[in-house]
Amino acid sequence: MARSGSLWMRLASACCLAALGLAAAPAAPARAAGTLIWGMPADTDILDPQATGGWGTYQVTYQIFEGLVKEDLTKADVSTPPIVPALAESWTVSPDGLQYTFKLRPGVKFQDGTPFDAAAVKFNFDRFWNKSSPDYYPKTASFVAAYTKWIKAVDVLDPMTVRITLTAPDYEWLRQGLQSYGQPLMISPASVKKYGNAGVALHPVGTGPFMFVSRTQGVRTVLKRNPNYWGRPAKLDRIVFLPLEDPATRVNALRSGEVQMISTPPWDDIDSLVKAGFTLSTNDHAPYINFLYLNMHSKPFQDPRVRKAVNMAIDREGIARDIYRKTGRAEYGMLSPGTYAYDPNFKSYPYDPAAAKKLLAEAGYPNGFTTVFELPQYGTGELVETWIQRDLKKIGINVELRKYEWVTYLGLWAKGMTNDVGMDEIGWGMSTPSWVDIVVECGSVAPNGENSGYYCNPKVDALLNQALTTKDQGAAKALYQKANRMIMDDAAYVPTVDDLDPVILSPKVHGFVNPPEDWFDLSTVSIGN
């Protein structure tokens, strides 16, 4: 028995030694200079900016592609990123606001060597707008609709000049091009012809400061510096985008030095990471609103007093303080803080549960009622929704939380709430105030748009349309703010708490700017000691 035991013992020892040997192997091979590894909460979608949506994807495509103009994301201390020339050196707008003439930047080449000129611009507009062109790619249609629905004609005036004619004046049109659900950025025509429309997903070729190296779906996406970039060259050699879906893994990877940057950090870990020497970067003007839709087809919510009571019953400041751990901001209106029309002093319904209960009684619900809140198992998790459920319970409204997986939820949200559902939610926004049209206008009422709660006030629509066609930004701002007050007087929505776009950085990361946008310009970033 002893001899047999010793045989097993020897085997076990050999294996332990082998395991120890592995453990003692070099912890990390020599690191390439200037590589930023970013731990992201999810993998990005396909890398075709004209045929995809989602901020996580723009965070990658923004580094590869550019448009005729772009938002300057190298400034954090502005409320809205200024629009600056990119592939167009300059542009003029006709006095009637209908024609935009772009003078293209000379000497620019796509990363595959294709020259950038008016023909390339025409090709791209044909791809995402011109249904009669053989180059049209139908999949782009819904992604760039907010931009293309205004276009009447695209004309090449000379090899370096393009004129775009709109169907009606829209003074937010340039920014809508950067904020559409997809982004109408310029793709190399030669690459599209070589790899096909679907091939852009794996062969993205633009003019930006970084160029595509490789991608393993769900594992990593690698970019490297574009050595022939027309503008200020990027400082980093490489960027690795790493999907780390488990929040704890993201935090641990940052702590161990495997990644130098993480987005969407778990709220509970923020304080300890900051104490451990990591940097928390947020932006007070993130163009983003979390809000609830109230269902105008559900009986209790047809009474504005009930809608106001719900708005008053939710302790937004408490959510921002205790759940978001100071990386959130209580919101009281439907204009995103990242837009020029935002009014920080506007407080529609401060927290007042006693007044809310009184209003509810006046509306004929002294003992409250029961309703359903549909929500996705995504994003902020269920902490905020549970908090809302608790607050509403305090004024007598019993809320049943119905959670759905994200895609299922999106389908329900887009179809509009059924009569038995009282509220649903979304987090969305753009740095143009014209975004609010998408969720409040009568023409957007579900299932024909994203107005999931069926709110419709023609006076609000008229104000929003007037704002869009008003050239003077001061006057447009006043119109947007008036519309916002009207929407909140109707208490049709419940803005809750906005995310300040928290990013946690290793002390080795220098030059990172968290602008009032949901994606970043990584060309300013470098890695040091």
Partner: protein, 317 residues
């Protein structure tokens, strides 16, 4: 005899795979949510959605859709991923290989730890070693792997800094086999510990039962050397139930590996399957589940075959 047994078992694979594919196909279609929502975004018009459904063939009746898929699959063509426009095979195979690497490493550890611990405990039954080993196996056997994984990360990656936290290679390095092995240690240990504990307990009880059998007593009375006694009369007779439980644990390891893939961001089939289900990427879901089912069935046949080789009486049953 053995050949006909094997033939029967292999022939039974096809109906199993067919059943799995039908169930997955129906389940995916029963689930609410629409692939066009994912592909076209919330601003798509109903016209866009109808056109896309037509392009993807999703406007056809379910039996027609299934029939087309079956026809292509029978020809070895798993199609193109709806969400990523990549060939399904190119998407799945590398991830499957990664899952197999993790599963095989975990199996190796589970067998090594389980067999050693179980045998030692049985040979020293009711000693302090046996009692403490059984307590430890009880604890590991009932610990959720994702929690255990996080604890191991805290100790070995963050505190001691011996091992990496996540992934399969160092993203800033050049990779290589050594780098992958280094990344494999924690996920493999995490996946292996619970099955190792169950195997250890089964090995212990099986060996103990064997040790108490009359023919072992007779052999001992006849003065057979202890080593020969253990090898020829105890271990060999104890093997069938041990092999069966090991085979079953391999199924558990495949499932457990999926958990570890999340905690350690190990790029295996589990995370791909999850993202494909959430994206309603039917061709990928179908191919991945078929591959998992096929692996599971083949492993079971292999285990049964080994059992038959050890104990020929099983062939008759």
């Amino acid at each position: 005899m053995l050949r006909s047994y094997l033939g029967k078992r292999l022939a039974a694979i096809l109906p199993v795979l067919f059943g799995v594919s039908v169930i997955i196909f129906l389940l995916m279609h029963l689930a609410p949510g629409d692939v066009t929502t994912v592909l076209l975004g919330p601003q798509a018009t109903e016209q866009d959605r109808v056109a896309l459904r037509h392009t993807l063939g999703l406007d056809q009746p379910l039996p027609v859709q299934y029939g087309r898929w079956l026809e292509r699959t029978a020809e070895g063509d798993f199609g193109t991923s709806i969400a990523t426009s990549l060939p399904v095979t190119a998407l799945i195979l590398p991830r499957f290989v990664n899952t197999i690497i993790l599963t095989v490493a975990s199996l190796f550890l589970a067998v090594l730890i389980g067999y050693s611990a179980g045998l030692f405990a049985a040979l020293r039954a009711r000693s302090w070693f046996d009692r403490s080993m059984m307590t430890v196996t009880l604890i590991f056997g009932s610990t959720p792997p994702f929690w255990l994984g996080l604890l191991l990360v805290l100790l070995f990656a963050l505190k001691l800094q011996w091992l990496p936290v996540s992934g399969m290679i160092d993203m800033a390095g050049d990779g290589g086999v050594l780098d992958t092995l280094h990344h494999l240690v924690l996920p493999a240990v995490t996946t292996a510990l619970a099955p190792a504990a169950i195997i250890a307990r089964m090995v212990r009880s099986s060996i103990l039962e064997s040790l108490g059998r009359p023919h072992v007593l007779v052999a001992r009375a006849k003065g057979l050397r202890r080593r020969d006694l253990l090898r020829r009369h105890v271990v060999l007779n104890a093997l069938p139930p041990i092999m069966t439980i090991t085979g079953l644990q391999l199924g558990y390891l495949l499932g457990g590996a999926l958990f570890s893939e999340v905690v350690f961001a190990w790029p295996g089939l589990g995370s791909l399957l999850y993202s494909s289900i959430t994206a309603r990427d039917m061709p990928v879901v179908q191919a991945a589940t078929l591959l998992i089912a096929l692996t599971f069935v083949l492993v079971n046949i292999l285990v049964d075959l080994v059992n038959v080789l050890i104990d020929p009486r099983l062939q008759e049953s």
